[in-house]
Amino acid sequence: MIFIIDDDHEMAECIARAVRPNEARIFKDTIAAISALDEGELPSLIFLDILLDGPDGFTFLNELSSYSDTAKIPVVIISSLNLAQKSLENYGVVGVLDKAMMTPKDIQKFVKRELS
């Protein structure tokens, strides 16, 4: 299972199409995603937008890294912000994709690498 957290539903659907045939679950905010994690649903990979309604992506990364069962879930950030992956590696971030310039192949590269 792959989690996609993005408040732009159409963009999230595009990412979900790119990760097929892997199953994906879309969340419009981090609160809903954390609820799913609390219920024991642990994804193999998370695609995370940063600027979200409610708690932002950084808050979610903090939450994720503070629990032993979720700390090791790889996260790929998808954002229009220019973020340096190096500074986020301690939060389980394995990649940063530019929302404006990424391609399905970029997304699939991470899926292949992290799920194999």
Partner: protein, 230 residues
Amino acid sequence: MESEVNGILVAAHELKAPLALLRQLAFSLELAEDDVDARKKIQSQMIDISDRAIKQVSDLTKIARLEDGLFDLEPVAIRGVCDEVTAELRHLFRYNHRKLEISYTNRSRLVVANRDLLYSVVYNFCLNAMHYSDEETFSTMSVKDYHDKVRLSVRDFGPSLPTDVWQSLKKGWVEKPTSIAMRPGSSGLGLYIASKFSQYMDANVGAVRHRDGTSFFVDLPISKQASLFS
């Protein structure tokens, strides 16, 4: 100058989002090459997104031309404008699992406005309501008599309006698009556009904060020709 640069940055951000999405949808078309239904859905999404982006660019162009006074004010049937906007946006609401309800109680049918500008005000209020409504909730558009004016109001059920935007609206206008970082997902450009157009039409915009959402309203002068209908 700083305000102008900020405005350009916000406008650029707002326009970058639909362009990035169109790009991804174009890739999705390729991925869905064997699925006719999926391709139809994606094509329809691309058209909708392009339409909204073009409308936004067109509104920004109009703002630049407001000073020239090219937009005539005339008696406008406000319900007709609202009906047109809701007809255009209804499927977008449905697609995003939200509803738009309408309530007309105004006896004064005609307001003094520019039809195109009023259309944009209503359109931007509704889009804003859709964005800030929670899933499976409804937004309400109401048109009612309010003292010697007609009040058009759009109420959403979602997060309450940030205090800074509310303070700005208390003065009757939005001076500049809100900082991107303060309102993720939207820069408030739609509200800025609605505010500018309302100012031009001598109409007041404002907002009411609710515990479970926000109402944006515009008070429009009643047309004297309205007396013909009473």
